[in-house]
């Protein structure tokens, strides 16, 4: 979850590019609400039934606490039509991009669609 804090603190740089950040985990509604409160500039979704996580093959079965299922850290850039323009999956779950690297990927793959967002969130 550490990457969420970094993204939340640099939300304006994504908002200026018109790109909201939707953060998804397999948490239920209670934990999702807690995470949303903690990172108010992101959009936090819960996927306890794994429908979205399975749709992009991002489920790490049995690798969560108590051998529960958990999401594999995965980043996908979508264009305004919901088409995948870039994906990133680290070779190790402890690896993360830096916000600068993610911004560079956004600039490279999504720039033509830019329409700045309000900086208050989605």
């Amino acid at each position: 979850m550490r990457e969420l804090g970094e993204l939340d603190s640099r939300f304006a740089e994504f908002a200026n590019r018109g790109v909201p950040i939707v953060a998804v985990s397999v948490d239920g509604q209670e934990d999702t609400a807690r995470t949303q409160q903690r990172f108010p500039h992101l959009v936090v979704w819960g996927d306890a039934e794994h429908r979205l996580t399975n749709a992009v093959a991002a489920l790490h079965e049995g690798k969560g606490p108590g051998h529960s299922d958990i999401a594999v850290p995965t980043t996908i850039l979508l264009d305004k039509d919901g088409v995948i323009r870039w994906t990133f999956r680290p070779e190790h779950v402890i690896v993360r991009w830096t916000p600068d690297e993610l911004l560079a990927a956004v600039d490279e793959h999504l720039k033509p669609n830019w329409v700045p967002l309000s900086t208050s969130g989605r």
């Binding site: 018109g18 429908r51 919901g82 088409v83 323009r85």
Partner: protein
């Protein structure tokens, strides 16, 4: 056994060399862990710390030599502790943290239909992602 012309290593010298080797083992192990902690917490660099496991392995090898040269209970205990830390590091890097390769929809493919919930429990679908580009980020969640 002394060879003529070459001074033999005395027991005291051998003991001092073993101590140095043993201390070096500890230093290598701790330096690897310290560098990773600095990267993780101070520099926010989330990398795979192969160097820590490699340094620990070199350190443990040195400690093993020191124990074989002259073993004491403390050396043996230190060796076992470092061996466990080293094994833990390798286990962490080769078994616990590797992620499966991405096998979801590829570049140029539409994100499949789905449903999930927002913070209020309301259903969200693919339609909520249309109309503007989006960073869709999957994270480990609340542990």
């Amino acid at each position: 056994m002394a060879i003529e012309g070459i001074p033999s290593q005395t027991s005291a010298e051998a003991s001092a060399a073993g101590r140095r080797l043993f201390r070096l083992g500890w230093v290598l192990l701790l330096v690897g862990l310290a560098i990773y902690a600095i990267q993780l917490f101070a520099l926010k660099q989330y990398v795979v710390p192969w160097y820590a496991a490699i340094l620990a392995t070199i350190g443990v090898a040195g400690m093993l030599v020191a124990v074989v040269q002259r073993w004491t209970v403390w050396r043996l205990v230190g060796l076992v502790v470092c061996l466990l830390v080293m094994a833990g590091e390798w286990l962490f890097l080769t078994v616990v943290t590797p992620a499966p390769a991405y096998q979801g929809p590829g570049i140029g493919k539409a994100l499949p239909e789905f449903s999930a919930i927002d913070q209020n429990g309301a259903t969200v679908t693919r339609n909520n992602l249309l109309g503007r580009p989006t960073v869709l980020l999957f994270f480990r969640g609340h542990w």
